[in-house]
């Protein structure tokens, strides 16, 4: 009997949480079903300086040479190979203000952030930080290093001097 009562109480708590959680976030659920969060769980209304770009767009920006490419992977991965001209801002460092100060970030220019590929999230995290720093044109290249390598686009394996 005690077990039955316990189970009833657990079900009640879960049911209550389900109703409140889904009810309050109804608008988010609608957006999710419309495919708004296919690249990552980020509100693009809140982070209006962030956009997602494809390999073709990243390549276009690379050719124009106007955008700053930022690699958000760990230092070792960056040193092994990165997009030509990219600077490194690894996940374990970028949360510290000092790390951000070491790199010149164009407040009105375009930055393209990438990490490994679809499985990585550090580019998204870094984009949020840079948005808060006041950058107005942040592009996330979600295909990342994997797609860039696959297309055999220009890379460098040296650690670019900063």
């Amino acid at each position: 009997m005690a077990l039955k009562k316990l189970l009833q109480q657990i079900v009640l708590i879960l049911f209550l949480s389900l109703i409140i959680g889904l009810g309050i976030n109804f608008s988010l659920i609608k957006k999710y079903l419309q495919g708004d969060f296919q690249f990552g769980f980020i509100s693009l209304e809140k982070y209006d300086s962030i956009t997602f770009i494809t390999l073709g767009e990243a390549e276009g920006l690379f050719s124009e040479g106007e955008a700053l490419f930022i690699d958000s992977r760990p230092k070792e991965a960056f040193q092994t190979g990165h997009i030509l001209g990219a600077v490194n801002l690894p996940v374990e460092e970028y949360k510290e203000e000092k790390a951000l100060d070491l790199i010149f970030l164009p407040p009105e220019g375009t930055v393209v952030i990438y990490c490994d590929g679809n499985e990585c999230n550090s580019s998204l995290e870094l984009a949020k930080v840079l948005h808060q720093k006041g950058l107005i044109d942040i592009k996330i290249f979600f295909g990342g290093w994997i797609e860039w390598m696959r297309e055999e686009l220009p890379v460098s394996s040296e650690n670019d001097p900063q």
Partner: protein
Amino acid sequence: MIRNKYILIAFRLVVGGMFIWAGISKIIDPLGFAQNIANYRVFPEGISFFLALVLPWIEVICGVFLILGIFLSASALLLSGFLVVFLVLIAATLIRGIDIDCGCFGSLSGKVDYKLILTDSILLFFCLNIYFSPKMVQIKSK
């Protein structure tokens, strides 16, 4: 197991308070928490999103119930279950060498590390003590 009613009441307040705080910090930023869950690379995207919307409410409701002395066994058992899952996830993350924020307290979260295992183990110890002596605490605290 600890039987002292004052210690058990203190456990309820600590665990309840911690989970209310943890839950609220996630409720105010559901997308951030969904991303935190996704970062563990354990659940599919849809499940991460669903958990991010519902899980914080379970934490808050159980936390409030623990403090108020309502459904003590059920709340303590549910939170114990959560803590066991968190511990497994943290251990798996450390073994896999993934460097991520734990997502435990929304934007105030720290990194997944060994200290987190200690914190969650202590909370689990508190929770199990509450679960195994609910009647006594419930009656005497009223």
